[in-house]
Subunit: 245 residues, 2 copies
């Protein structure tokens, strides 16, 4: 039966649970960004021990008097300078030897941000860089595993929920959105079917403006219907009609 339910029998408020180990609780973040062409990761070139000089994810420790949710937001703010970042919990990583210095359980989450909106200075202060997924370096500890799983989860979630919008600027074109989906799934999509699929969700509002940065026909700039986005979030559609099925 080992240590299951090993509470000690006491009503005194300041007695503690017996026999069980206290350990460090880390929060590690996989931050995805999109620059219009490629999917990128915000990674840290470590200038501190352990594994100084190597690449890793951004992380931090949970404080004694800090809610988990709050700590996650704090870490994302420290890294990107952004508040109200979209993130989801990924998984807890807890192998005994995953951190060489001390037993540490990591609760891992992934975040999606608009790469242009985020504070580049803050990232530089953290020695962080945007790295294309395809040039992904080897990471310390079990961080490679974390990124693999985050990418898998991103694909899973983006196929069913409109989270891809979190990676785009406020106003965007349908071809830009398509490029994002092609980057996420690393596969080409049919332009016409994609457009029909996206428009059928009625999540996009035509701003009346056009993308002036184009060298050819200027595409319509849309924005997200925030109300519908919130309310339809869990009513899953297939956003991936062509591939990944």
């Amino acid at each position: 039966m080992s240590q299951t339910q090993n509470y000690i029998d006491t009503t005194a408020m300041f007695r503690k649970y017996a026999h069980s180990a206290r350990m460090l609780l880390a929060l590690d973040s996989i931050v995805f960004g999109f620059d219009g062409e490629e999917l990128k990761l915000l990674l840290i070139k470590r200038n501190f021990e352990p594994e100084k000089g190597k690449w890793s994810l951004m992380g931090g420790f949970l404080e004694e008097n800090e809610d988990l949710e709050l700590a996650t937001n704090r870490i994302l703010y420290d890294l990107t300078g952004l508040k109200d970042v979209y993130f989801e919990e990924l998984k807890a990583f807890g192998k005994v030897d995953r951190d060489p210095l001390e037993r540490t359980i990591s609760i891992c989450f992934f975040a999606l941000i608009n790469i242009h909106a985020h504070d580049q200075d803050l990232a530089k202060a953290q020695n962080a860089f945007w790295i294309s997924l395809k040039d992904r370096p080897n990471l310390v500890f079990d961080h490679n595993e974390m990124v693999d799983l985050a990418l898998e989860r991103l694909r899973y979630r983006a196929a069913l929920h409109p989270i891809g919008f979190e990676l785009l600027p406020e106003k965007f074109t349908i071809p830009q959105l398509q490029k994002l989906y092609e980057a996420i799934y690393d596969t080409p999509l049919d332009r016409r079917n994609f457009s029909r699929k996206i428009l059928s969700t009625k999540l996009l509002i035509d701003t009346g403006e056009k993308n002036e940065n184009s060298a050819t026909k200027k595409a319509i700039l849309y924005k997200l219907d925030q109300t519908k986005y919130q309310s339809q979030f869990n009513a899953f559609h297939y956003f991936m009609s062509d591939a990944s099925r």
Copy 2:
């Protein structure tokens, strides 16, 4: 910048991370079972402090030298007597005041088991009982929230992946499977469309036997094609064609 990345600069193996809090790490399990008619929860009538006498989920603490995965299996074994139980991680719960005695982070998971296969004696030894979801009592701490989320996740997952089979005996009929899905989604389904949908997945193998317990026409007993189940697990189908969309 608070405590983000507050590693101390040292190469000595036995130095520890500075300044950060160590805390208890609990593992709480939501165990779903199916008796042929209703979806049930395996709950504990607490005969220990804190909150003695009240209902709660089964849980335990992570040990110093124990992998997270291993601890989860240990706790499920202690509760059900089963090994190789199907489970998924749900979410980490970490509000500062969620446990009155001491700061405890709970990593929560939900498990699916065949209610008849599990060891009733072991459950009794833990003071655990199968409670119909509809008669769910109030639970201690944040356990209500955990169950709510687990049910939501179960519905989400079962709509896309064939995890429902984990709740059934090895041999089962299509009407039994339909009752399970109706219990999970709390909604009636069309018998004919359901059958067509399930058979189209080619996941079922006709055993040649029939359900002898029936008072009317005996339904065909199927078993799961384990090979296909494993390989197709992540190639999501809609298992819920009628409702929940």
